[in-house]
Symmetry: C2
Subunit: 188 residues, 2 copies
DNA sequence: TTGTTTACTTACTTATAAGTAAGTAATTTT
DNA sequence: AAAATTACTTACTTATAAGTAAGTAAACAA
């Protein structure tokens, strides 16, 4: 097996899971290589530096989110929100992970500039999608809230990211309570 | 200077700031000792292991929060909320720190059991204070919201913790937008 | 079928981390 | 004044981290 492998994809997949579990600074080539049954240098072959790997992990997650956006583009505001909430909740059952943005944000000051830039791009993308969702939903009479969509969107994305984290300390019910209250608050 | 020093207090203070900046796993004895002008072993004298230091930092923050609770006990619900929001916002101006619970939560799976337990105790304390605040405020007709106080409190503490983190990526305005919207949502 | 590229492994370097043992000087206690 | 305690420093150990240089075997291209 010297050509055509899926090692690079496996590195990204496992690297993503590890950052969501333990964060970028605690992520080591050792953990990836041992779990994939390869050597450290094999990772360096695909990603010369840890920074390269980190950037590709975030970029990959952006691409996945863009696919998500397309895939729900035909749905109504309420259904879009439900799908998003569901995909977000998966983190909890999958080893009490947190979302990638939350993980990147709490390690932000330790990240290389290149990673910071990609993370910022990712959060803007997410926030804008949410703003549009709330704006469209309100115009359609599906969502009800005070103030500007941008401010409500800010509350919702930060509450969901924070809830995943807090759930680690006090249990998954905390996340469900947050998600339920956010939906309740959007009703008439 | 061989007796009666305030080195231990300085270690706690700087250690707290460093955890809020870069997180517990990235915190090193080296950074503390160099900034305080002492040697690594001096920290080990006061805190034999990093785990001891970590636990004391969180315990110390709990004690500080308990003092905060007492200090605002005479205020009305709205004033209590304002003081809390203000003290929370300080993190932003102070080198884009995040709150200690948020920092601990995102590194939770890397922490020793002893630290996890103290963090859990801290979050329960904070959440319960918030629940009581919302419950009292609603009975007094100051706050208005749907659902149970516990759920609204969950949203608010997670939104604020998440907002401090997200502000690192997209600017401090994000936190202010979250704080403003949360207050707006509590009005009649 | 020879040469080149791909996808690695082996073996190494350098840096930094937590932690420890032994020594020391000032202070405090007896 | 002597003994003990406090608050360190010096010097060391062990572990783990990212990263690199050189070698190798399979696949593919010419």
């Amino acid at each position: 097996m010297k050509a055509r492998t899926d090692t690079k994809e496996k590195i990204i997949e496992l690297g993503t899971a590890l950052i969501k579990s333990i964060g970028y600074p605690s992520l080591s080539y050792q953990q990836i290589s041992s779990q994939l049954g390869i050597k450290n240098a094999a990772i360096h072959y695909h990603y010369p530096s840890k920074e390269d790997l980190g950037c590709d992990i975030v970029s990959n997650e952006i691409a996945r989110f863009e696919k998500f956006i397309s895939s729900v583009s035909g749905l109504g505001p309420l259904e879009k929100l439900e799908v998003f909430l569901g995909s977000y909740r998966v983190h909890l059952e999958d080893g009490n992970k947190i979302c990638l943005i939350g993980a990147g944000a709490s390690d932000f000051l330790e990240l290389p500039k290149s990673m910071q830039l990609v993370y910022t791009e990712y959060l803007f993308l997410l926030k804008n999608w949410f703003i549009d969702l709330l704006e469209t939903g309100r115009k359609a009479g599906v969502f009800h809230f005070k103030g500007e969509p941008v401010n409500k969107a800010s509350v919702m994305i930060s509450a969901l990211a924070g809830a995943l984290q807090h759930a680690r300390l006090i249990g998954n019910d905390h996340y469900d309570a947050v998600a339920a209250q956010l939906k309740e608050d959007l009703k008439a």
